[in-house]
């Protein structure tokens, strides 16, 4: 479930200033907006694919996943870049830039992970695999990259140890883990001999990943709320 740590290795430009600054904060309402827009983005992508091109994940997985990541890309990058660490030293555009940079790198790592786990590598699956990896990249690495930048310590803490610290990190960590774990479970029906079209790579894995991602988003909202409440209690 954790191709991500490899990705950290690659994205590490310098294990630079391990900014010990306080973790960025996010209010429950903002977290709710992020979650809602991500969910709405997914819904929009499905709606566009379905009504505009009359395709869905089963009939044309490649293009549908393409729509998903195309719609999610601006939403995720633009929203998460607002909660970047050290907003004073780091410009908004820079955060957007590193978010964009993380898209292909994360896709590569996700793709390698999927291949290690048994994703087909034949040529006919290439577009599907590429689109799936880009989607997974948006679910997993891109938010982290926008917020955390290239801080190896933070990446390690969030992805290898699953110890998010602070509300924004919950919003990064839980959906990403949810997507990967959901994808892992989504792969299980694939060998069954039901001969349904959705058993093909990467359809059910995508369903699993999207489902896990949504669960992760909701859970992170809950955590953010809990966080805010406990801080509120502390302050008072």
């Amino acid at each position: 479930m954790d191709r991500r740590k490899k990705r950290e290795k690659t994205t590490v430009t310098k294990p630079s200033t391990v900014d010990a600054s306080s973790p960025p904060k996010i209010s429950p309402s903002e977290a709710f907006i992020v979650t809602l827009s991500s969910v709405l983005g997914l819904g929009l992508a499905f709606y566009v694919a379905n009504s505009g091109f009359s395709i869905d994940l089963v009939t044309d997985p490649s293009r549908t996943i393409f729509f998903i990541w195309l719609v999610e890309l601006p939403i995720v990058i633009l929203l998460y870049s607002r909660y970047r660490q050290n907003p004073r030293q780091c410009m908004y555009l820079r955060a957007v830039g590193r978010g964009l940079l993380a898209v292909p790198i994360g896709a590569l790592l996700n793709c390698l992970g999927a291949i290690a786990l048994g994703a087909p590598v034949t040529f006919q699956f290439l577009p599907k695999t590429v689109n799936w990896s880009l989607m997974m990249s948006l679910f997993t690495t891109v938010p982290a990259s926008c917020v955390l930048g290239s801080s190896w310590a933070h990446w390690k803490r969030i992805f290898a140890q699953t110890q998010p610290n602070g509300s924004v990190e919950y919003l990064i960590c839980l959906p990403a883990h949810g997507a990967v774990i959901g994808g892992w479970f989504g792969a299980w029906p694939m060998p069954l001999d039901w001969e349904r079209p959705w058993q093909e790579w990467p359809i059910c894995v995508s369903y699993g990943a999207i489902g896990g991602y949504l669960v992760g988003l909701v859970a992170s909202c809950v955590f953010v709320l809990a966080c805010a409440r406990s801080q509120h209690v502390k302050q008072t």
Partner: protein
């Protein structure tokens, strides 16, 4: 309290020496043996093949012959021959709905009504041609069905007496009786027939049946030889076995254009055959009295599968046509036919029969002795087709149907006598015979029928005046014989096709007890050891253990579905990669061993491709592995570069392995016996290289006789293995004077592994060195990764017991290697070719051992003997023998537990799916492989414990 327990345990161990560490391994072995024997008795139905044969003179022992005007013909033959020649056309996997008119079925599908000619013949002359729905008995695989058809018995999944590798039928059978009676048999088509009956055919034209993708070779071969043979008179029985429909079903399914084309092709072939027969049917012509039988050996599902007991699989068809028109039809009492108008408005009748009855009915028609082990009954309708040749005895003043009944009663008498003789002989000679209740029931039914025969029917027959009383008496007689034969068939089906649930339940219960026992053994060792478990490692230890058991559980549960069993290799690899990813995560946290964890992940990725290639072979051709023991040779075999690489790379890798072994052993101190072992292994590697070179290059063969390379080198390698093992046992007598117990363990393990490796590599063929290489790398990675939690700062004194995680990885990796080396859990996944490395002739015991070594070499033998490395690498310093051996014994228990859990789930799964249509095709082979693997693992663990724990006693004596 606890301390006292530990003390007590330590004292006990002091007394019992190494048995203190290993006694539970032996108990586990015994429990497993008991469980498996019980379960197998209930599940894997076995039947003993009897070595008896029917003789034409036997029949005089029965009371059936009556000394009247008929006796001049019947002294030397069982029945009067009714047909002279027999043509059997077998269409493999012929579904019943291919033959019967579509109006018999609720819905008309487009694969129906393709064999039009059969229906036309039947509707034109209903007395001389018939269509039967033939019910086959599971297992519905071609080999078992052909065996059942010819022996008239119920072949089970395991027929005791079946010879390994060569499936020739040794039981009495229809073809054997034909040959004994001097009939000549010609065969064309599926080469399974020549495997089953190597010496029975006058002429045969076998075509290889293993290439499922090839729809036409076998069929074209059949056609090529069938039509010329029809005009020849040098045969009495002609068998032509077409495979196209079976292959089309396997590849494209029933609902496909290929299938329709095949059926249309058969239709035209059959049209021509019938045309020829009719042309030659005149008096004195070739086919004056010929019977044509067109039949399927079994059916198939819409996907083309067969093997189980589903309705689609067991329902096949028999079409029979007598060239000589029989005068009468069967009396209505014995007519099972039901008639329907077909689409063209013609009346077509379809009867029904058991495939079990085929052998005996054909024997009766041809007038040869019935096969000894046949338990079928002479089918009245099929038998009636031969009625045309009976010379009607006008003097008897009987109607045709009365004569028919008289004849039939007589045949049934012989039939019943023969079946009774078989049942008696079987229960007398088989270890697992019928129960005495069943036997006495059968005997009483038979005695009743026999009484009736002796006291009323026979008298009435001799006394020709009372004709009116004769016919009802005969009918009653036939009814009582039917009753007897039905009873026997029921009994035989319950014995050979039904499971004994009580036995299976007992087996499952004992298996579950053994699991509990193993868990308790592990916990006990933990509690003795647990005091030293450091708290900081706790979290990782337990989360890793939980994760290991989660993966284990996923794998075990996956066995409950046939699809996951089919793709077991991929599932195992998926879990292995997952565990690799988790290990990588951990190593990122710890910031060390990154190289090993990435390497492990890469290795599992490579394994994945190996497994996929293996699986594609499994899907495409069933008998592929018999031809090529190593799949590596066959990837892209078109490329010249690849061919060269395939020859050179294994040799290079083997040289690297030899070099490694040399390097690894040169810097540790080895006692001289073990030094010799390692040197011998390197010598074996060199011999293997020579063996491969001589195999490929023909010009080298000019310098030395071929047999040296092919026969003697492998034998030398086997001999070296034996010598090495003896030497290792011998070396046990010398106490290694290296004081360090840990080094001693490493040395022993290395020596043991190197001894086995050469033979295993030789048997695996050219892929062997690569797999060996992979297993070394994988083993090394697992070994290193298992001390990921050990922080140097904690000092050498701190130790953690090795959790189940590395052991589970070890086990998963071994499973992956099994699939990687081109095996799978089915009997066609065995590399029969490997059994003949070093042997020209068939010898059961050595070749069975070699086949076991090939199949389980990489997946059980090497991993089990290599397990001590995990312990040895874990502890940097020598902590004393007690710690080391406690750990080792705990690890062996864990390994055994993991294997046992897998096997237990396989057992649950075959129990649940015992009525599944894939039970014989998929679940039973998986069961056999797993159970055999479990026993082998247990035995090897016990042997390894004898080998590795041997110094324990000494240690305590010193202390």
């Amino acid at each position: 309290m606890k301390e006292r327990e530990i003390e007590g345990a330590a004292r006990r161990r002091k007394i019992t020496g190494k048995w203190g560490y290993t006694w539970h391994l032996w108990v586990t072995l015994l429990l497993h043996i008991a469980a498996i024997v019980l379960f197998t008795r209930g599940f894997l139905l076995t039947r003993t093949e009897l070595p008896y044969y029917s003789n034409s003179s036997d029949v005089s022992e029965s009371q059936c012959l009556y000394s009247s005007s008929h006796n001049n013909t019947t002294t030397s033959s069982w029945t009067k021959p009714a047909v002279n020649r027999l043509i059997i056309i077998v269409l493999d996997a012929l579904r019943f709905d291919f033959v019967a008119p579509s109006t018999f079925f609720p819905e008309s599908k487009h694969w129906m009504d393709k064999l039009k000619v059969l229906k036309e013949v039947v509707s034109k002359s209903p007395t001389s041609a018939k269509i039967f729905k033939a019910i086959a008995d599971p297992p519905t695989t071609s080999l078992q069905r052909l065996k059942g058809l010819t022996t008239g018995g119920l072949p089970t999944f395991v027929d005791v007496g079946n010879s390994f590798g060569a499936p020739a039928i040794v039981e009495d059978n229809f073809l054997n009786q034909l040959v004994q009676s001097g009939k000549k048999v010609v065969m064309m088509g599926d080469d399974t027939w020549t495997q089953l009956f190597p010496h029975h055919f006058e002429r045969s034209y076998p075509y290889p049946s293993f290439n499922v993708k090839d729809l036409d070779t076998v069929d074209n071969g059949c056609i090529e030889h069938l039509f010329p043979s029809l005009y020849e008179d040098d045969w009495d029985v002609l068998i032509s076995h077409f495979l196209g429909v079976d292959h089309a079903g396997h590849i494209f399914g029933v609902d496909s254009t290929q299938m329709t084309e095949k059926l249309e092709q058969y239709n035209s072939i059959l049209e021509k055959v019938i045309e020829v027969l009719e042309k030659e049917s005149g008096p004195g012509r070739l086919h004056e009295n010929t019977l044509l039988v067109v039949m399927g050996d079994h059916g198939q599902t819409l996907n083309g599968d067969h093997g189980g007991g589903g309705a689609e699989e067991v329902e096949t068809a028999i079409f029979a046509m007598s060239v000589k028109k029989p005068p009468s039809s069967v009396p209505v009492e014995y007519d099972t036919s039901s008639c329907q108008l077909d689409l063209d408005g013609k009346n077509v009748c379809v009867s029904s029969m058991q495939q079990l009855d085929f052998a005996v009915t054909m024997s009766a028609l041809l007038g040869i002795p019935f096969p000894y082990g046949s338990i079928g009954q002479v089918n009245p309708e099929l038998y009636a087709l031969g009625a045309g040749s009976w010379n009607l005895d006008v003097s008897q003043q009987l109607s045709e149907s009365d004569i028919w009944i008289q004849n039939y009663a007589n045949i049934l008498c012989i039939n019943s006598w023969q079946v009774k003789r078989y049942i008696d002989a079987y229960s007398a000679s088989s270890a697992v015979g019928f129960s005495s209740d069943d036997l006495s029931r059968v005997a009483s039914v038979y005695a009743q029928a026999e009484n009736h025969w002796l006291h009323s029917t026979k008298k009435l027959r001799l006394d020709k005046r009372d004709i009116d009383a004769l016919v009802p008496a005969l009918k009653k007689q036939i009814e009582s014989y039917f009753n007897f034969l039905r009873t026997v068939a029921e009994l035989a089906r319950s014995k050979w096709t039904e499971f004994d649930l009580r036995m299976m339940g007992a087996g499952i219960a004992i298996m579950s007890i053994s699991l509990i026992f193993q868990v308790l053994a592990i916990l006990r060792a933990n509690s003795q050891d647990g005091a030293t478990l450091a708290s900081s490692g706790y979290a990782w230890f337990f989360s890793a253990s939980a994760f290991a058991f989660f993966l284990l559980g996923m794998r075990a549960v996956s066995f409950l579905s046939n699809s996951f069993i089919l793709e077991e290799g991929k599932v195992a690899n998926f879990l292995l990669s997952t565990s690799g990813i988790v290990a990588l995560r951990k190593s990122v946290v710890k910031g060390k061993l990154l190289k090993e964890s990435v390497g492990f992940l890469l290795l599992s990725t490579f394994c994945r491709f190996g497994i996929e290639i293996g699986l594609s072979k499994q899907a495409s051709t069933s008998a592929f592995m018999k031809e090529y023991t190593s799949w590596i040779l066959n990837i892209a075999s078109g490329l010249a570069v690849w061919n060269h690489a395939a020859e050179v790379v294994p040799i290079l890798v083997l040289i690297i392995l030899a070099f490694w072994l040399y390097k690894a052993t040169s810097d540790i101190f080895f006692g001289w016996p073990r030094k010799i072992v390692v040197v011998c292994t390197i010598l074996s590697y060199m011999l293997i290289i020579v063996h491969w070179i001589t195999e490929n290059n023909r010009y080298i063969l000019a310098f030395m006789p071929e047999s040296i390379g092919r026969i003697y080198i492998p034998r030398i390698v086997y001999a070296i293995l034996l010598g090495q093992l003896l030497l290792l046992v011998f070396a046990q007598l010398f106490r290694g004077n290296s004081s360090d117990c840990k080094t001693n363990l490493v040395v022993k393990t290395t020596a043991m592994l190197s001894a086995w490796s050469s033979t295993v590599i030789l048997l695996s063929g050219k892929q062997g060195p690569m797999v060996a290489f992979a297993s070394i790398v994988g083993g090394y990675c697992i070994m290193r990764l298992c001390d990921i939690e050990d922080d140097a700062k904690n000092g050498p004194q701190r130790r953690l017991s090795i959790g189940p995680f590395p052991v589970m990885q070890w086990n998963l990796f071994a499973t992956c290697l099994f699939f990687c080396s081109g095996h799978w859990c089915a009997f066609d996944g065995l590399h029969y070719g490997a059994a003949f490395i070093g042997f020209e002739e068939f010898m059961l015991v050595p070749q069975a051992i070699i086949l076991t070594l090939d199949t389980y070499g990489f997946s059980i033998i090497l991993p089990v003997f290599g397990l001590p490395f995990l312990v040895a690498m874990k502890y940097k310093a020598d902590l004393g023998k007690h710690v080391l051996f406690t750990q080792l014994s705990q690890m062996y228990t864990t390994y055994g537990l993991i294997t046992a859990i897998m096997t237990t789930f396989t057992i649950y799964c075959v129990t649940m799916h015992r009525r599944h249509l894939m039970v014989w095709g998929l679940f039973a082979p998986k069961f056999v492989f797993d159970v055999f693997g479990l026993l082998l693992t247990d035995v090897l663990i016990c042997l390894a414990s004898l080998y590795y724990f041997d110094q324990g006693k000494d240690a305590h004596n010193h202390n």
